[in-house]
């Protein structure tokens, strides 16, 4: 398609490139992107400087780049263990939240059992209560059941996730009832309808929810901070604060820790982003 009117996207881009307004808009976008990106860039650059350089060298590129900060973090702090803790808790939370939410969403949306609406309203209501409001109770409960400083203690209160249940329920509600009926006619049990039709039909939703849940639990700070007082049980986010506390002002190390801490999240998003778009494209194509 080379005609100017047939290809809307290229004409509108060409249009923007030519006019002063378009140029201005592009500039503004670039400035906004740079503003957003600069702190990240600066953090990465600072993490590559030695401790003394961090307060003297303000060039865009470190004059004497060094991995000192990283090496220190990895060798002298508990960072590898914190990584492991973060991985265990985040993966645990993600798997449990997604699976339980999918089950709950399916049950509320598709099954008819007494108390269904009560359950649904309870979930909706719990959505209104901020988790921070419950955090003291959570702490006391975890202390009473002796789960402080354990992975399970970090994971359990983070499983409260009404939003994912709501998303699943709405999604299953929106599926035409013929899919379920076709499966029932084909001889599927409720569990098979769920596992072999409803869940595989919406990997896009599941992947998206899993990524969001993973990022959220990897980045979680307040609860892990409260529940893991033992340095060996800390997650990365909690641990980095410990580095700062333990070794005074050492920007290189702190930022190296921060970069390392955010790496999995950034990677996860970059890796899975393609699958998310893929899955969404797939499910959109089906409806057409």
């Amino acid at each position: 398609m080379t005609g100017a009117t047939t290809d809307g996207q290229s004409t509108s881009l060409g249009y923007m490139r030519r006019t002063p307004g378009g140029v201005l808009l592009t500039l503004l976008t670039l400035i906004a992107a740079a503003t957003w990106f600069f702190p990240i860039y600066w953090a990465v650059m600072t993490s590559l400087r030695s401790d003394s350089d961090t307060v003297t060298d303000f060039g865009l590129i470190p004059a004497n780049p060094t991995l000192e900060g990283y090496i220190f973090d990895i060798v002298h702090s508990e960072l590898p263990i914190w990584y492991l803790n973060s991985t265990i808790t985040s993966v645990g939370v993600t798997v449990a939240v997604v699976f339980m939410s999918a089950c709950t969403g399916f049950a509320i949306s598709q099954l008819r059992f007494p108390g269904r609406m009560l359950l649904w309203w309870t979930i909706l209501a719990s959505f209104m209560v901020p988790v921070t409001a419950l955090i003291v109770n959570h702490f006391i409960i975890m202390a009473n059941v002796k789960l402080l400083n354990t992975h399970l203690g970090i994971i359990l209160p983070m499983l409260i996730s009404p939003v994912t249940v709501i998303v699943y329920k709405q999604f299953f509600d929106g599926l035409p009832k013929e899919f379920r009926e076709a499966a029932v006619m084909d001889g599927a049990t409720e569990l098979q309808v769920f596992l072999r039709v409803f869940l595989p039909m919406n990997w896009g939703v599941t992947t998206a929810l899993a990524i969001i849940t993973f990022i959220g639990s990897w980045n979680a700070f307040l609860w892990p901070f409260l529940v893991s007082q033992d340095e060996k049980m800390m997650t990365v986010t909690v641990g980095i604060t410990a580095v700062q506390d333990a070794f005074g002002v050492a920007f290189g190390r702190v930022l190296a820790g921060a970069v390392l801490a955010s790496l999995p999240v950034a990677l996860a998003y970059l890796l899975f982003q393609r699958r998310v778009t893929q899955a969404i494209a797939l499910s959109a194509g089906i409806k057409g």
Binding site: P176, E178, M185
Partner: protein, 363 residues
């Protein structure tokens, strides 16, 4: 293969009676169409046969066995949905084989059965595609294949062709007819398209507001409608209805229409009645022709002339009411011109006040 017997089937949704006591037997190997206007309960009835909807009262028997309370999968029926409901995440082959894989059939047997179905429905090249990559007609065939592979005793179709364009619908109609003659299975087919019902079915059930209005062969429904509803529902353009009063006369039944015109229907089997009786005279457009002079029994003005190629229909406003006439040869007709109409009264039907047929056309 099996027959389907419904006795005294009812269905209520809350306070709403959707199906009101239906008795119906679909013989083994027959093709039965459930026909009726939108909302008359066709899908509900079909879904009760399938087991997707509970039955409020009455019994469903398939192949002689009472399946009223049975699970859908144990009824030996397969259903093709209007929306096809193909599983979007599975390939065509996996869609067809889904029921087999749920039943734990071995891979080899599965592949063999899928291949057989695919060759029957000409799906061979599409087996690795996903539903999103198929055309409407292909999806329809996959949906039929999914039903076919289960080797059901009874096939249930809920308006399977209504999402296809006119040309494809005709083609699929022929394929369905062929499938039925090849398999010889019992088929129950829901449609609101009378042409589909007339061409495919050997037995048509006309439903009206949840009750059976008439059951019969396509010929019977068209030529011997049992009531005004069926008479008006079957046939396009619809039958003409003229109000009047009937009384027994020497040569048959004399019907005096509004405006004082009296027509005498030839003698025919009817219960005798005394005195005047309000009736509606029904006559199909093909039994009304344009006439002039003494041959004209009614006269009026043509309102619209529809030219269809093989024939024309003239919509005529007469003092007795609006009448549609088939006017094959009347080339020069223009709207607004005076027209005389001649009625072939041996093909006319009389309906009493309740809509029941009083006197049918002569054989």
């Amino acid at each position: 293969m099996a027959s389907v017997e419904l006795s005294q089937i009812t269905k209520t949704f809350g306070a709403h009676d959707v199906i009101r006591g239906i008795d119906l037997t679909v013989d083994d190997g027959s093709f039965c169409a459930l026909l009726g206007p939108s909302g008359c309960g066709k899908s509900t009835l079909l879904r009760m046969i399938a087991g997707l909807e509970t039955v409020s009262g009455g019994t469903v028997r398939i192949g002689g066995a009472d399946v009223t309370q049975a699970e859908p999968k144990s009824r030996g029926v397969a259903m093709v949905f209007q929306s096809y409901a193909l599983y979007p995440h599975l390939t065509v082959a996996d869609n067809i084989a889904f029921s087999l894989s749920l039943a734990g059939t071995s891979k080899a047997v599965r592949a063999e059965k899928v291949a057989k179905v695919a060759s029957m429905l000409r799906l061979g090249e599409l087996l690795d595609r996903r539903p999103a990559q198929l055309s409407g007609g292909q999806r329809q065939r996959v949906a039929i294949g999914r039903a076919l592979v289960r080797d059901p005793k009874v096939f249930l179709f809920d308006e399977p062709l209504s999402n296809l364009d006119a040309l494809l619908r005709v083609q699929m109609r022929l394929e369905l007819a062929k499938l039925h003659s090849d398999l010889g299975s019992t088929m129950v087919y829901v449609t609101h398209d009378q042409v589909e019902a007339m061409t495919l079915a050997d037995k048509i059930v006309v439903l009206d507001k949840g009750a059976i209005s008439q059951v019969g062969t396509p010929w019977e429904l068209y030529n011997r409608p049992a009531n005004r509803f069926v008479a008006g529902f079957i046939g396009s353009p619809a039958m003409n209805f003229l109000r009047g009063t009937a009384r027994m006369a020497a040569g048959g039944i004399a019907v005096t229409l509004q405006g004082g015109v009296t027509l005498t229907l030839p003698a025919r089997a009817t219960q005798d009645f005394v005195g005047d009786r309000p009736v509606e005279l029904g006559i199909r457009p093909e039994h009304v022709s344009v006439a002039s002079g003494t041959g004209a029994q009614l006269s009026g003005r043509s309102a619209v002339v529809e030219y269809l190629g093989n024939t024309s229909y003239v919509y005529v406003d007469t003092p007795q009411g609006s009448v549609i006439a088939e006017a094959a040869g009347a080339r020069g007709l223009q709207s607004g011109s005076p027209v005389g109409l001649s009625l072939n009264l041996s093909e006319a039907h009389l309906f009493d006040e309740s809509g029941r047929v009083l006197a049918a056309a002569s054989v």
